[in-house]
Amino acid sequence: MSEVTASPTTEPGSDRPMIEIDHLNKWYGNFHVLRDINLTVTKGERIVICGPSGSGKSTMIRCINHLEEHQQGSIVVNGVPMTNDVKRIEQIRRNVGMVFQHFNLFPHITVLENCCLSQIWVQKKPRAEAEKTAMEYLERVQIADQAQKYPGQLSGGQQQRVAIARALCMRPEVMLFDEPTSALDPEMIKEVLDVMIELAHEGMTMLCVTHEMGFAKTVADRVIFMDQGQIIEEAPPTEFFNNPRSERTQLFLSQILGH
């Protein structure tokens, strides 16, 4: 227990990596979904992960907040090594925000309550303070006027922006995005990407699984290409899009950019 509480958060000037993934291996039964993943993310870095469906990209980022359990290798988030201890996992989750493909807002409570819930129950903030923080972030994703509505009354793009605000309310050190625009109509993709770009400019550490290559070109520090559970290529966006080295990457890029 003392070990858990004693783990330090990032002090200014510390250049310790925000996320360290070392030889991560994961199986679903006998199926080897993640194979020897090594990845280090420093504070403020923006990473875009792409790859064909079933390549393990979602599974990988879901391991970072233990929505998926891994069998081999290690994950260290903000200096806290991941174990199977529930307290430890919850400590890591408090520092890691996540945005899902299908938003996963809580449909039975209002937008405002969605944003307050974890502040009140996890961070133990008084309600008034939690609501203030929630309204701040709802303002930032430009949806404050919908605060009293229920998620079911909003459009997909609005719901996803609320989901981003909900995650930000916990003031996380890292944000994970799991295909945040894949379930949206084309007209709504932009409003969500705009919020994500703004967030990137503010220096948030971000890992985004996405097929929005425009987004990758504008904000990513590194683009990671995954296939068959492994990292095939890892490069800055200009290099990644102009001179992809592996044949598999070239094929993938030609398929998603070639129309």
């Binding site: 899902f100 996963n104 039975h108």
Partner: protein
């Protein structure tokens, strides 16, 4: 040749065409929109008239209402004097007359609390709910059982009538819901021991008929328990009824839990909420709302099945009415007795049904999944 077309002005939204053309329009559209439907409608209306009218004649128009003895029953129709003459015992059973005010207080308190919780505008719901679950049972126990604070002790043998029916129903409903929730959660647990215990409990109680449970509770149990421990017969029946219905409740609630997408739990996890927080704040509110019809269905079944306790010698409302039929002064009024009993059960069950529909509408937050 294809011309390209384009629109310079947008079309304004218009009102929907009027489809309801008064009462006659409704009848024409729904009952008489064709020769076959017209014939079916007429036949059904005639049949209903043939059935309903004689019943009304018997129950209302030709009925005798006023009087105290059998001599008042002169008309062709029903003689409700049978009910009014025995009304006290139908409500209180064999509860001593001098102490019946205690039952009245409990009834009134229960009615006030239920109304308070059921009407949305009433303030301080949380405290009233807490009082209903903790304070009220203690007060009701003290008042009904007595034997303390100078109140005369009334053994449960003397309980009966509607009072006993309501006692069993309320205890059964209040007990089986939380127990059912715990069993449903336990059955979905990843811990093999917890899961195993819940599965065995549910499958055992669901697999035996309620009558068997009641017989076991009243006849068999005392054989296994040392003679000096005297379990009250009513308490044994209550525990049996609670366990039996909690197994049903658990399966109803489990179907609700199953319907909640995995994403809800994951979103809670990602926000750092613990198991009980996710369950209590996210999963259960949605799951319970979804299975309100099933829960109320179980409540209604429970309410009606309280009448089974008559086979172990507890005199609930139906048993009291049946006992009244054997009274030599009142032979031959069984129809009145059973119609009255049915009406009372129906009023309670129908109220529950309507209230559940109202709650469903009120809790609807417009989400599809």
């Amino acid at each position: 040749m294809t011309d390209s077309t384009f629109r310079t002005e947008m079309i304004e939204a218009r009102e929907a065409p009027d489809q309801s053309r008064g009462v006659i329009g409704w009848f024409r559209a729904n009952l008489f929109n064709g020769p076959i439907n017209s014939i079916i409608s007429i036949v059904v209306i005639l049949l209903l008239a043939r059935l309903v009218w004689p019943f009304l004649e018997w129950a209302v128009i030709d009925a005798d209402w006023i009087g105290t003895t059998r001599d008042a029953c002169t008309g062709e129709g029903a003689c409700w004097v049978f009910i009014s003459a025995r009304f006290e015992s139908i409500v209180y059973g064999f509860y001593p007359e001098a102490a019946r005010w205690r039952v009245d207080i409990v009834f009134a308190l229960l009615a006030i609390l239920v109304a308070w919780l059921a009407i949305p505008k009433m303030p301080r719901k949380k405290w009233v709910a807490l009082f209903t679950l903790i304070g009220f049972p203690i007060i009701a126990f003290v008042l009904l059982v007595g034997g303390m604070f100078g109140l005369q002790h009334v053994p449960t043998r003397a309980w009966g009538g509607l009072m006993l029916t309501l006692t069993i129903a309320v205890v059964g409903i209040v007990g089986s819901l939380p127990l059912g929730i715990i069993l449903a959660l336990g059955r979905r647990s990843k811990m093999p021991f917890v899961k195993g215990v819940c599965v065995i409990f549910i499958e055992f109680w669901r697999g035996v008929p309620l009558i068997t449970v009641l017989f076991m509770a009243s006849v068999m149990l005392p054989l296994f328990v040392p003679g000096n421990i005297d379990f009250d017969k009513l308490v044994r029946a209550l525990i049996g009824i609670m366990f039996f219905w909690s197994a049903y409740m658990a399966e109803v609630i489990r179907s609700g839990l199953q319907a909640i997408g995995k994403g809800q739990n994951e979103a809670g996890q990602a926000l750092g909420l613990g198991y009980w927080q996710r369950t209590g704040l996210i999963i259960l509110p949605q799951a319970l709302k979804m299975v309100i019809p099933g829960i109320v269905n179980t409540f209604i079944a429970l309410f009606k099945d309280t009448s089974l306790v008559l086979i172990i010698g507890l005199f609930d409302m139906l048993a009291i009415i049946r006992a009244g039929l054997t009274d030599s002064n009142w032979l031959g009024f069984s129809t009145e007795g059973y119609v009255f009993a049915a009406a009372v059960y129906w009023v309670f069950c129908f109220s529950m049904s309507r209230y559940s529909q109202y709650i469903e509408r009120r809790l609807n937050t417009g989400h599809k999944r």
